[in-house]
Structures are given as C-alpha cells and as structure tokens.
Amino acid sequence: MKKQLFGLFAALVVLIGFNACKPKNTMTAVSGDAAAKAYVAPGKFDEYYNFVSGGFSGQMSVYGLPSGRLLRVIPVFSVDPEKGWGYSEETKPMLNTSHGFVPWDDLHHVELSQTNGEINGKWVFGNANNTPRVARIDLKTFKTAEILELPNSAGNHSSPFGTENTEYIVAGTRFSVPGDNDNGDVPINSYKKNFKGHISFISVDQNKGDMNLAFQIKTPGINFDLARCGRAKSHGWFFFSCYNTEQANTLLEVNASQKDKDFIMAVNWKKAEEYLKAGKGEKQKVRYAHNKYDEATHTSKSEIKTDVIVLDAAKLKDICYFIPCPKSPHGCDVDPTGEYIVGSGKLAALLPVFSFDKIQKAIADKAFDGEYDGIPVIKYDAALYGEVKKPGLGPLHTEFDGKGNAYTSFFVSSEVVKWNIKDLKVVDRQPTFYSVGHLCIPGGNTRKPSPKYLIAYNKITKDRYLPTGPELSQSAQLYDISGDKMQLILDFPTIGEPHYAQAAPADMIRNNGQYKIYKIDENKHPYVTKGEKDSKVVREGNKVHVYITAIRSHFSPDNIEGVRMGDEVYFHVTNLEQDWDVPHGFAVKGANNGELLIMPGETQTLKWVPDRPGMFPIYCTDFCSALHQEMQGYMRVSPAGSKTPLMYSLGAQSPDAEAVTEPAKK
C-alpha cells in the first residue's frame, strides 16, 4: 500500500514537473477545487466589485468577483444607444469636445477615489486615450458625472492616476506634440525642437467630486506611459514612466528602443503647488471642454474653457527629476509603504526597484548625471534599492498584497510572477493565457490591499474559448492568492479590451448611499411632468414639446395628432415610478436616434424629426409589467401646412369622447 502511494506520489511529481516545464496548454494550472472557489450561488452576492476598462469600446464594465459575472456596462466616452447615452438631449453635451461632438474613445485605465491612501467608494475615474479626456463616474448612480478635456495633450495614456486623498488626478500625454498655443503646422522631423510633453494635474473637490484643471507641467518631448502617486512617506510625489527618450518621430518600434535606459520621472507636486501659488506659472490660451451632468435637473452642460496655467519643469528646477530605468518602462508602481518604486521596462530582463529614501538623499546630495533637456537626471545607483534578476520576459505592471510581496505581469512570457520586495527573490510564478497586460489586486495600488484575489487582464485568448470568427473573446483570469502559491480559478470574458482595472469590497460600494430612484419631487428638469394632469403637448413654432409620463403600464398622453412635416418633436419622458428597478424605455418608429431608458423619477428627452407623413407608433422598450406589451401609443404626422389641430389624449377615442386627461383646447 505504501509503495503504491509512493508510486502515485512520484507520478504526480513527474506530472507536475512536466507541467511546470511546459505550462502553455489550456488544461494546465487548474486544480480540482477551482470551480468551488469561483462559484457564487444563484441569489448570492459577489465579494468584490471589479471596475474594468473597456478599452476601444470606450466604456467601463463592472464585474462581480469571484464569479466574473458582468453586472453593468457604464457608458463613458462612447455613445450607447441602449441607454440613450449620447442620443438623449440631456447626455449629448457630455461627449462634446473642442473638436465638437466625439462619439467614441478608447478607455484604458481606471482609478478609484481614495481617502488616506485607501479606497473610499465615491468615484471611479477613466481616461480617454484618443481625444484626451478624463471622466468621473459617480458610484452612487454608476453614471458618468463629469468629463474634462485636456489641452496640450495627445494620447492621454498616463492617466487617470490619483493621489492619496484624490487631491489630484493626473494625466500625462503619450504623444508629445507642439503646445496648443504654439504653431502646430511644423515639419514632423522638427520633433526635438518643437514637440513638448505636458502633465495635467486635475484637482478634485473632496465632497462633490468636481474636477478642475489646476495646472500643467511642461516637460521635454518624450512619451509618458503610466504613473503612480507616492503614498504614506512619499505622499506629495508622483512617478511617471517615460519612453522614447530618443525623441524619435518615426518607426518608434526600433528608434525608441535604442537607449539602454529611459526614465521614471519623479514629480514633487507639493513643490509645484508652491510655484503655482507664487505665480510662477504661465497662463496660456487654449480651448478645452468641461462637461458636467446635474442629477437635479437630469441634464448636462458643456462649457468651453480657455485658460490653463503651465509650469515649465526646465525652468523651475526642483519639481521634476529623471531616474534612469531600463528599456521603455511601462509600469511604475509604488508599494503600500510608499518606499519602493518598481519600474517595469517592457524590453528589459530585470526589474529595478527604487527607494524613495535614496531618491531624496540623491536629490539632497545632487547625485546627478547631468541634465536631460533641463531636467536633472539622478544617478541610477543612487536611486536604486535593488534589481530582481531574470524575473521573466516583458515586465509590464506590478500590484502589491500588503504582505511584502509584489506581483508583476510579464507580457512576452505570459505569466504572473510573485516576488518578495525586501529580498527581491521570486517566490512563485503562474502562467496566464495569454499575453497578460495589467494586473489587479483589490486595493493593490493603495496603502491597504485586500489580497484574496488577483486578476490578470489578457491581450490574447487564442484557444481559450469557443471561436467566434476572426475576432476572439477578450478575457480576464482570476487567481486565488490567499495561499503561498497563486492558483488559477477562473477565466471570464470581458468587453472591449481590458487594460487596467481596480476592485473594491462589495459592501463598501453597495452601502455607499447608492440611488435606487430619483425622487420625483426633487426633479428640476425644465421639461418635467409631475403627474398625468400636467402632461401636455406644446407647439413653439416648428418645435413640438411633448410632456409625456410613463408608469406601469401606459404613457400619458398616448395619442398625439397635429404634428406636421418640418416639425422637430421633443419627447420629454418623465418616469413617474418611485420604486427600485423600474425603468421605462421609449422609442418611436423611424427615429434616427437611440432609445431612451428613463430611471424612476427621471426625465429624459428624445428628439425626433419625422421624415414622412403617416402613423408612427411609440412604445415602452423595457419590460415593465404584465401589461408591458400594452404600453404604447400613436403619433400622427400630417403633411407640411396641414390644418390638423394639435391634439393629445389618454383613454379618449376622439376629441368628442370623454378623456381621462383633458384633450388640448387648440
């Protein structure tokens, strides 16, 4: 018996051994209890909310962990006809920019708001990579509340990363470009002379969340990739990874990989604040949109702003310092104590760990290797704590567990590597399927991580899911990291391309005062209809305003006549429900538009320009009750110049019959 057991054990060891050498097939790395660990029974809640970037979908998705169940897709930078986002009159201004209405963007990174270096559950921020913007999503409504465009920027990649109390959200430009205030019509090969980088510091009101472009720092013309704030002892500093210090403007794949080392840029933002206060900034004329959604009026406003204050890092010497970092760093991540800064050079074969204390000493001692375009360059060894040797290929991003370990993703070797920060030794490695980008540990970028799970966001799925034609599913993978070894327990598909993500404990988010309804008596929409007795249709020239209500299961009015060709019809739909989870939808035949999805107590407006005379049904699109299929009405459209009187009614057969709601006198 003993011999048999030994034999079995030996076989297992051999098997495991083989697997360890050759981890790249779909069946390895999953052990028997994986399903149980990721299983959340029907009717039970997940432990964490996971806010995941939607990449080129432009949206942000919300998953439950550990189940990987998709809970919601929050429309942010791209129109969403399902929710009326960018289609309703109320939300169109949210997508306005200095370039006009922009219906799409590319959301890469998310950042949960913090207090004292811990997640506070108030807001989550997202970046628009293409037309540079930062969005704030209110976690009481799970709706985009604010979008701020960024001047002097192009490719807002190094964003939106926040400070310990969300004093600021930063946004570093990926492309350096000539400033908006400078002439941009210059030869591209004049890059070194004319192209500049800018880092935006967006201040955030601690109570209301309102964003404001407080100042920008002008830097040499290089590419900014990612960033992290200092925390605890390094609060007051910010760290940005930089590449293309070669200042190449063509074939960057080769030309931006020439140097042995690029930089991490350390920014003393407290110092920058002092300079700002002392009036050392230069006010520049620029144009950028600032859009806000107001939950009282249920409408948004877009304002074009024209000023920004720019601090020049080459002139104001002690704001910015460069720290050499091997080969095009992507991640630049600060551990929970604030002492260690991990650079992940995506073409490097080692991971440098920098020490905040040593950086401070190097600055005090002026241990510099000269300057780069006017910015002091700290000596590599003077800033370095140590290097993790041969950790893997293509390091990208590091998160922390708060127990002294770091977890780094390796894109080229498709793995997650756990290593000890103090002794810089690799502790464990697990394969990902495949080509992992960012990682997420709930609170993994804060002072207090919650190290139960780690999620890897992959770039390639190849053979992991049923194929769906040329484009395959995007995916994330969940690891249990509560033990010494990481254990893969779940694959789950995601929308768009999942870049970075963050996660927070479920109780914090669901008990944050989330709205269940909008109170109808607090609805200050200019076209609200508070009760069916107030529903009406008003003509103002060729504009027809329909004040219409929705409740299970009818609209008031539901018969409208007297609209003519050449009219613009505005359906202002007020949902009179005051109960949780009872939105109504609204659609009209032939509208070159989306639908409306109106939350209880909310008013939303659909613009409709009839294209032909005839009869046009309206109906509720969101199944609301047993009589949902009865929730409908008709719009009659007459030819231009017709004498059909404007009439509206509910429950009446004709103007002669008794109406529940009085027909119009006109």
């Binding site: 309804i517 299970r552 008031s556 429900e577 109960d579 009589l627």
Partner: protein, 165 residues
C-alpha cells in the same frame, strides 16, 4: 416584548427549512441603505399566520383620525396624489389600472391603507384580498416611496373624496 422569542423561533424555523439561507437574507436586508425600513425580510414572506388582515403589515399600528376633515392636510394629499397615484387610480369607483378610490375609507381601516401604500410588496404577498385584486388588475401596485406624512395626507384626501367634511 413577550412575542419576541416566538418570532425569533419562527424565523429560525424558516431559516432551518430553507437550508443555509441566512446569509442571503442578511444581504438583502441591508442592500437598501435607506428607505427600506418598511420592507419585510424575505424569510417572512408567506408567513400568513402572522398577518393581520385588518391592520395589514407595515409601520402603522394605529392612526389618529379626527372626526372632522383636516382640510389643509387633504390639500397636501391631493398634490401628492396628482404626482404619485393619479396615473392608475380614479377618484370615482371605476377601475383604471388599479381600483377607484370611492368608498375606500369606509371599507378599510386607516392603518391598512397607510401600510399598503407604503409597503405594497409585502402586503400583496400575504393579503388574500390583495391577491384577489392582483388577479383582476395584473399589475402589482408600485412602491411610490411615500414618506409617512405623505401617506397620512393621502389618507386625509381619501376621506375628503369619501365626503368627510
């Protein structure tokens, strides 16, 4: 107070019958951070033996109603009715989505009415009369998130509608 142990026992029995259901119940009980005080915990659903068909179920145990109409309160109630009730209820005895209001205050106690309009879901699940009504109307009366004062003023308006002066 003497009733408490019995109540707890009943709860316990229900929990025992439903397997390890307690976590779910807790989760749902706290999911609504505000204004869900009137919501009955799920484990109580179907506990018809505890249900009082005269009082209904909810926060109102006794309502002081004057002999005469409080006209100001009735006017307040009429305003609320216009926004939150009139879409579905006529003031006559005719049914629209739900039944007309005429004569309601003489058929039902004020506690029952005020509990129903503030706590409809729990009562629809238990009240035999409401279940019969649901078979006719097919739409569950929505919870319109009335405050206590709104509920009281609506009741006063119902009295006015029934001819109380």
């Amino acid at each position: 107070m003497k009733k408490v142990p019995f109540f707890v026992l009943i709860l316990f029995l229900f929990a025992a019958c439903g397997g390890s259901d307690t976590e779910t119940t807790e989760a749902e009980g706290t999911a609504g951070s505000e204004e869900t005080t009137a919501e009955a915990p799920k484990s109580m659903v179907g506990d018809v033996s505890q249900y009082d068909p005269h009082r209904g179920e909810g926060k109102f145990t006794s309502v002081d109603v004057g002999d005469k109409l409080d006209a100001a309160m009735a006017t307040e109630g009429e305003k609320v009715q216009g926004v939150k009730c009139a879409s579905c209820h006529k003031l006559s005895d005719e049914r629209l989505v739900g039944p007309g209001w005429k004569g309601l205050t003489s058929r039902k106690k004020p506690e029952w009415i005020m509990n129903f309009i503030t706590n409809p879901d729990a009562m629809i699940d238990k009240d035999p009369e409401l279940q019969a009504q649901l078979e006719i109307c097919l739409v569950r009366m929505p919870n319109q998130n009335l405050t206590d004062n709104e509920a009281r003023s609506i009741y006063e308006f119902m009295r006015k509608n029934d001819g109380v002066k």
